[in-house]
Amino acid sequence: MSSNESNGNKPPRKKKAARKKAARKKAAVKPSSKKAPVKKKAAAKKKTAVKKAAAKKTVAKKPASKKPKTSNSKSKVAVNKRRSMLRILGQVALLFTLIMGGYLIYLDAVIQSKFEGKRWQIPAKVFSRPLELFAGANVSQEQIEYELQQLNYRRKKDPNTLKPGNYARTDSGLQIRTRGFDFWDATETGSNISVDLKANAVDDVIVNGKGDEIARLEPVLVGGIYPAHNEDRVLVTLDQVPSALIGALLAVEDREFYEHWGVSVRGIARALFANIKAGGLRQGGSTLTQQLVKNFYLSSERSLTRKINEALMALLLDFHYEKDDILEAYLNEVYLGQAGQRAIHGFGLASLFYFGVPLRELEVQQIALLVGIVKGASWYDPRRNPERAKERRTQVLSLMLDQGEIGQAEFDRVKNKPLGVIKKPVYVDERYPAFMNLVRQQLKQDYRDEDLRSEGLRIFTTIDPYAQHQLEKTIAKQLRSVERYQGEKYQTLQAASIFTSANTGEVVALVGDKNSQYKGFNRALRAYRPIGSLIKPVVYLSALEKGYTLASLLKDEPIEIKTENGELWRPDNFEKVSHGEVILQQALAHSYNQATASLAMDVGIEKIADRVVSLGVEKDLPKVPALALGAVSLSPFEVATLYQTFAAGGFYTPLRSIRSVMNAEGKPLQRYGIDVEKRISPEHTYLLTAALQEVVTQGTAKTAKRYLSEGLKVAGKTGTSDDQRDAWFAGWSGSYLGVVWVGFDDNLKTELTGATGALPIWAQTMAGLTQVPLKPIQPESVDWYWIDPKEVARSKPHCDGAVFVPMIESTVPTKKSSCSETGRVFNWIRKLFD
């Protein structure tokens, strides 16, 4: 009963035995909650009984109406009056019974319909990818600890006494005690994990004393898809609830729960007595069943009618259902806090909300606090009113002691412990709104919005919280630095970015606004902006496929191209300088526009446009010459789709944000598997990748080495649109592909280029991630040769103008350059005289 904790003289109850006894008793006399048809029959019987009673009464009325009137005698009049009074009273009573009967039937139906059906709308829960640790994994200690913090693990000093959800630093790395989790393919039980780290890689992982294992941490809960009324809960079954919590709850709220019939006369009497004694309303006499009825079915108004309804419905609920069912419903229904718009219901979620750990991990004083909060979630809010909450916790602990739920020693041990409430709710709404936006977009193809909001689906996504953190942090820092450097006008400069796993196409991080918490316009998915030179790899790939080599000579000189509408197109280089004859690789590395335009004319715009589509960007492209220089607007997501095909070795690999979906009970519903399709030959992929590595080592992106180790051998391309309105960079390492866009929403000119605006964000984010170098796999039919581009002949390293490039066997010139024929010494002498 609400607050009937004032006395505790009763000896400790033999709770479990009593509960079992009560449950047996109920099972013997009451229909099981799962036998709906039986209940319906019972209701039907009641209806018939009421009808029969009504029929009898009607029959009984008839003789009375036929009685002759005797108006002469006063006594007879009096008798008649009395009779008619009685008759009216009888009729009123009958009417009342009928109405009450009907009303009870109505209440019964209300109770059953809600209790039998889907009781709650459970929001879908969205999880990150789990961090997996194994010998050889590229992950730093910082990243593991970041992940553990996101999971609300507590850091302890002694690695030998860890509890689930604890970790400690060791000489060689970390000791972690995991909580366990139900994954799609297996259930990971809570384990003791010892992780040895060396130079940003895992050296060894020992799981429960066994070496060479994979340890999979729990995934981080990153968001939810909520029902309109904003009630949130994590459903728990009775067997998942610590017995201490049930003991404490019953001790505090309803000691006779397993004995009473839904309403407790003793409870009401005790509350009444306590209230009279205290001279005011201090205690309520409501049982847990009544509280559940109040929350579940009734409004919060305080009226006598509602109180009567509550009592009637509690009786009916108790009549129909098992005590354990009622208790389980109560544990999930009870209101325990507020997070902005979201109402925190049930102990399952409250445990995460206040302590950041699952219910089973709660310590006794934490249980006492949660039980204490039941009385008033706002009044006893441990974050806002810690003193009051602590006092309440002590009250509950005392009651638990009185009721024998804990012993004196435990009481003394925990009573002064700090509240231990996590600073801010770990369970905030959509921590990653832009990524969640993508998840929803992909989910909508397979699920109804209503199901997402109510079925308690568990959605396992691909987001890597650490990569996301790095990207968010870098974007904020870099835009601040641009603003500082370029002035106030740049306050409204925006950025969007997407990072994926280079080989599998899983999206690991996504930012749609410089303020990563912004829930509005998602530029990563919906800002379509001219991509500038980012298109050039497609032009050069098409050329290579046509038979060009990386050493083919191109002309970088003024060029005039007549467009379909008769206008002349005269592309210019960024530096307004033409470079004359350049080899193809160089033209790409330095992003020469004139050379590219002339190459594109030879390859054919149609072909280039078709190639963009076949590489993954399925949309109608303007088939105009300027397409070759990026006169096409794509979103960062679309650019990533295009570059993913390059990064994944020429295999089109659709970007994915979801790995699998499970239902509320943990049953797998759907898995989103990897899908690959070869779109570029291994030979051409290799050549293109080598050329794009040149962009970073020699070309427009060489400033990347300020931030990144050259050993990573990243490949990429800068992009700058007309008048520098858009700055782009797209590139990849052996581990990640990243695309970054920077510009103004209203399309203003900037002073930025791909290299100065977008590349620093890309490179610094990459630098923050542990990863492997890009090592393109060289096909057998490709080798590296020294070539004399002018002579189109095989050459030697010492020869003037010789370039060292990979070539497909069939394109290697058979001719040998004059230099390579004459020999090194002769050339050296010749150079002296030259």
Binding site: E132, F134, A135, G136, A137, W184, D185, V205, D212, E213, I214, S501, A502, N503, T504, E506, G649, G650, F651, S660, P668, R671, G673, I674, D675, V676, E677, K678, P682, T685, G734, S735, V772, K775, I777, Q778, P779, E780
Partner: protein, 146 residues
């Protein structure tokens, strides 16, 4: 007499050599091998590939695919994981996917002749089942050369 034995032996060898192409019962010999080749260099991931292989042979394709995708996430450059996954798709009769995954495996297995050979055998099998006998023979030839 001796000649008869030699002829018989040659016939048996010939028939068994062609069996993967012509007389193949389900599942194919390509897929009945004990383990997929291609060590990732990370033994924990190799274990996952082996586990995926076992699940596939037991007909538990859904979990086999989940296990192998987990393996290739942990070791994304592993030709072996793609190869093992292509075999799952082959057994599931998803020939298009099997072919593409085998191709992907080939593109990553430059350092393992055995893995390349197995990938070509999968490709050969896929082509055979799609009725492309010439393509199948061609792929089998490539496998034999390795």
């Amino acid at each position: 007499m001796m000649l008869k034995h030699v002829v018989t032996l040659i016939t048996i060898l010939f028939v068994s050599g062609c069996s993967s192409l012509v007389l193949q019962p389900q599942p194919s010999s390509v897929n009945s091998q004990q383990a997929t080749a291609g060590s990732t260099g990370v033994s924990a991931v190799d274990k996952l590939i082996a586990k995926g292989d076992v699940q596939r042979r037991q007909g538990d394709y859904r979990n086999a695919a989940a296990t192998l995708e987990r393996a290739l996430r942990l070791s994304p450059q592993s030709g072996g994981a793609y190869l093992a996954l292509s075999r799952v798709r082959l057994d599931q009769k998803s020939y298009g996917e099997a072919l593409q995954l085998a191709e992907k495996s080939l593109s990553l297995s430059a350092d393992s002749k055995r893995a390349q050979k197995e990938a070509w055998l999968v490709i050969s099998e896929v082509k055979k089942r799609r009725g492309d006998i010439n393509g199948s023979l061609e792929a089998a030839k490539k496998a034999r050369r390795l």
